[in-house]
Amino acid sequence: MDWSEPQDFKDWLSRLFSLRTILVALVIYSLALAELRFDWVEQLLGAYLARTNSQRPQSGAIWEKGKETLTARKTLEQIVTDRESSQRLAREAETLSQISEALASTQGVMVSAAHFRDLYLELPAAVAMDIASPFELLRLQSSGRWERTYFRKFGRSIKIFLLDMENRVLKELELPPELLDRLQQQEDFSEGVLEDFPRLENRIYRADRFFEALANQPEEIRRSILPAPERLLALSRPITRVGVSDEALTGFVDIGLEFESEGKSMVMVLQARDWAVWRLRLDLEAREILPSVEAEIPAGGTP
């Protein structure tokens, strides 16, 4: 390539119209024309940017908005998950205690009226009576308005709202802490022997004597002591000993039933009406029930 300055006009012309110059001009012209006509620079850039898109940051107004939407969705999902989890536990609950456990302090759970009736029917009569009169529930049921039941924690108590279709409260029930404790103890199976329960160790009776004395009581007393005897029948091994507490709390006395399960001693604590228990104790003592059977019956053993 000759980079020297042309010396005359002829030289100028020959260089200007040389093949090389014309080719270069044609190439430049074609490139420019092609760009104007086919946008190849933009196409190339666009293709490159599209290929590297995934490596670039999610910045800018739309992504910020998207992030907010995402966070909002996550927050909502959390709320819904918590709520649904409580709801599921409540729907699957077979006892009121299980519902009480499913309740979070900040939100309540809703079950159908029918489910609440089932839970109510599962309760020992004494406890059920303390929660609501069956006659009142019967009245509400027959009114045809009771559709749903809402449980909510208030401090240490639980309130139960029996609702109509429009969520209006037809009846408000309360489970105070004492009643909740009784509910929980209702199904309190613990590994151990009666002597492990200080309130039960003073009066321990052999099971056959206890049930013999119980069988001699009128039905009302029997039901006030063991409201759901069929549940005891469901135990796989027989009950061996029964402990009765000397203390009454809000009209109820604890009764401990000791039995064997899979080679271990278990104790189940129930609540019985105090007046019924006093009557039974009179009978037990009149039958010369051992003041202390510990010497006679080994702990956890069968007499």
């Binding site: 999610q58 800018g60 739309i62 909502l76």
Partner: protein, 681 residues
């Protein structure tokens, strides 16, 4: 010859310099490209994701959607009128279908003008560039921002079809007056879906995005029409329509939909809902979560409430001699209406015009209720003292010693005393000295307790003047508290959100409507009976004069210097409280200097609202508890009287209560009756 050679030499130098500059520019361009690439935003895929944010929808009690927060009403391109698409392309980017994100010729021209004509800036953004700017960039004007915008536009063109780009664009452009996207704009401006826009309508809308405020047709209709003509001319130039079609479209009359600010009569109510939602879920969830919020708002009652307050305040303006232009001198008003059997808030008016002031006086403004507080005073007395509506009290000058403060010497509105009268009459005539004697006997704590049992939650001062309403309360509190009397003592917390769901219909919260027995039903009824007399024959008699005939009970309230005028009343199903007054420290006085009382300023608004709300409704009496018995007594002596005796007053009594002329406080000789003119006429 040497001149020609010299020129050629210079041209040669220039040529090489140009090549060098081009090379340097190309290198700089590449450098600039990689520099810009560093924080170039990622583009979402698919592009429709930009309109995916679900809106939070707020529904009234009748299921009507009353508000949408966030989100966009996106429509596919097939559901947008072709007139609009053509008008928009002709105006914004007529080479849209040909370019690849950047209109080079237009850009070069704009660059030339910007560089060569100082002070003049020519825009050359294509639709794709505008989309890129709206989606990713701020409105800061800089070369680097512009370059990045071009790069993003180029990438968008490489990744999406023209139709996808256009669809994204038309669904996110701002048309002003809160309209985003063509569907929303078509509905707001012309009340039609985007698919049904005619050529003149489409041309008008296509002209707005350039400057939604400047061309706002609600404010500058002629300017918007001029812009529409420019759009039509552009459409002719581009070949989308013929000149005849453009002429016909330009001449066609355009009818704009009334702006929805008037339809948003529930703005104060909706603010309340949004505040509650934000408090519970946070702003992010409210504006980006796509909630479905079912409220207790009754749109019809709300519209009537707004109309009643506006009409009432306009009438008041005339009485006060205030003109529309004198914004600061015009009184304000507020109204709250609550369903008695549930506590559901049905209507809220927080001021005379939401556009003027968004401050919600119905909920947040604590104003002195004056005599409007007396129902709580009388309830407290009937509950804690051995008195009843037939007990006699003496309207006389009263001086009550206050520990550590000057004696309290309340006076009647008329500055006159009227001697003995039964408590029912003292209540209906709103006699202050007797209310003062009652609170002297019960103590202010008993009154506070009664008010709180009814639902007053604002702090109340335990002072004797509490009997005359000297602690601030809101209209919503008053409406809610009075509804406790209407339900025979069952208290319902006021609420405005019935249920909240997430976008998929999962319930997040729902309202349990629980009433709590707060008042003795018999005593509550005795107070209701007296409050009925206020409307039938007392300080609220204007209600009957204005034509509201259904059984109702209520109480007027006026404070010192006429700063606040109240009327709170209820039927068995709806409780409503109305307040009027100034935001500033000033009293309501008419042109003649006469003060505006609750009966004159607030009761007419209440009456108009209730007349509309109960039009065609049957009369429902307040249920009378079984133990209540009625007897007729002499209103001065409190002794039994025949029903036909002149002035004899019927009173509601509880078991064991007899009209024996018993005197409030210590019994003694009754002074002669004097001056029995009514208070608060």
């Amino acid at each position: 010859m040497s001149f020609g050679f010299g020129l050629l030499r210079k041209l040669r130098l220039l040529f090489y310099l140009s090549i060098l500059s081009a090379g340097v520019a190309a290198l700089a361009g590449i450098g600039f490209f990689f520099f810009a690439l560093e924080d170039l935003p990622k583009i979402p895929h698919p592009l429709s994701r930009i309109i995916e944010t679900p809106p939070t929808e707020i529904f009234a009690a009748d299921g009507q959607r009353v508000m949408v927060l966030g989100g966009r009403e996106a429509v596919p391109l097939s559901r947008v009128s072709h007139h609009f698409i053509n008008a928009m392309i002709a105006t914004e980017d007529h080479r849209f279908w040909d370019h690849h994100g950047v209109d080079k010729l237009r850009t070069l021209k704009a660059l030339w003008i910007t560089l060569m004509e100082p002070g003049k800036i020519q825009g050359a953004s294509t639709v794709t560039q505008q989309l890129a700017k709206n989606l990713f960039f701020s409105f800061e004007r800089s070369w680097i921002r512009k370059f990045k915008e071009m790069l993003v536009a180029v990438q968008i063109e490489s990744s999406y079809s023209k139709e996808e780009i256009l669809e994204a664009y038309v669904n996110q452009i701002a048309f002003g007056v809160g309209a985003y996207g063509i569907e929303q704009a078509a509905r707001i401006f012309f009340g039609v879906p985007a698919a049904d826009l005619t050529l003149p309508e489409a041309a008008l809308l296509a002209g707005l995005p350039k400057s939604p405020t400047r061309y706002n047709p609600y404010r500058h209709f002629e300017r918007a029409r001029q812009r529409q003509r420019i759009v039509l001319t552009r459409m002719v130039d581009v070949g989308y329509i013929s000149p005849e079609e453009a002429r016909a479209a330009a001449q066609q009359e355009l009818v704009l939909q009334p702006l929805r600010s008037s339809a948003r009569s529930g703005s104060y109510f909706l603010d309340l809902v949004i505040d509650s939602l934000e408090e519970q879920y946070g702003a992010q969830v409210v504006y980006h979560g796509g909630l479905k919020v079912f409220t207790t708002l009754d749109p019809q009652l709300q519209a009537w409430a707004v109309a009643s307050v506006q009409e009432g305040l306009e009438a008041l303006d005339r009485e006060l001699g205030v003109f529309e232009a004198e914004l600061d001198r015009r009184p304000q008003g507020a109204l709250a209406a609550v369903e008695t059997r549930s506590g559901a808030v049905k209507a809220i008016v927080g001021g005379r015009d939401y556009a003027e002031t968004e401050y919600n006086r119905a909920v947040y403004s604590l104003r002195l209720p004056g005599s409007g507080f007396k129902p709580f005073v009388y309830y407290a007395a009937f509950e804690s003292e051995n008195v009843n509506p037939a007990t006699v009290a003496v309207d006389r000058p009263v001086r009550i010693p206050v520990a550590g403060a000057p004696d309290w010497e309340p006076q009647n509105f008329s500055r006159r005393n009227r001697g003995p009268m039964i408590l029912k009459r003292a209540f209906t005539r709103s006699v202050n000295t007797i209310a003062a004697q009652i609170v002297d006997q019960t103590g202010p704590e008993a009154v506070i307790q009664a008010a709180q049992k009814c639902g007053i939650q604002s702090p109340l001062q335990p002072v004797y003047s509490l009997a005359l309403g000297t602690s601030g309360v809101s209209p919503l509190e008053m409406a809610s508290a009075f509804s406790t009397f209407a339900t025979g003592g069952i208290r319902h917390e006021p609420f405005w959100i019935q249920r909240v769901e997430d976008p998929y219909g999962h319930v997040l919260q729902e309202r349990i409507v629980a009433g709590r027995k707060s008042l003795n039903p018999e005593i509550a009824y005795q107070v209701v009976d007296m409050m009925q007399a206020v409307i039938d024959d007392g300080t609220g008699a204007v209600i009957r004069r204005l034509g509201f005939r259904l059984p109702a009970a209520g109480k007027t309230g006026t404070t010192n210097d006429y700063r606040d005028a109240w009327f709170t009343g209820f039927t068995p199903t709806l409780s409503c409280s109305v307040w009027v007054g100034f935001d500033r420290e000033a009293g309501l006085r008419d042109r003649n200097g006469r003060g505006i009382t609750g009966g004159r300023g607030a009761a007419p608004i209440w009456a108009n609202f209730m007349k509309r709300a109960f039009e065609g409704e049957p009369a429902r009496e307040f249920p009378v508890p079984d133990d209540i018995h009625f007897t007729t007594v002499d209103p001065i002596t409190g002794l039994p009287a025949g029903p036909s005796d002149p002035g004899a007053e019927k009173v509601a009594l509880r078991p064991g209560q007899v009209p024996d002329g018993g005197l409030l406080g210590a019994p003694g000789l009754l002074p002669p009756a004097v001056d029995v003119r009514e208070e608060e006429q």
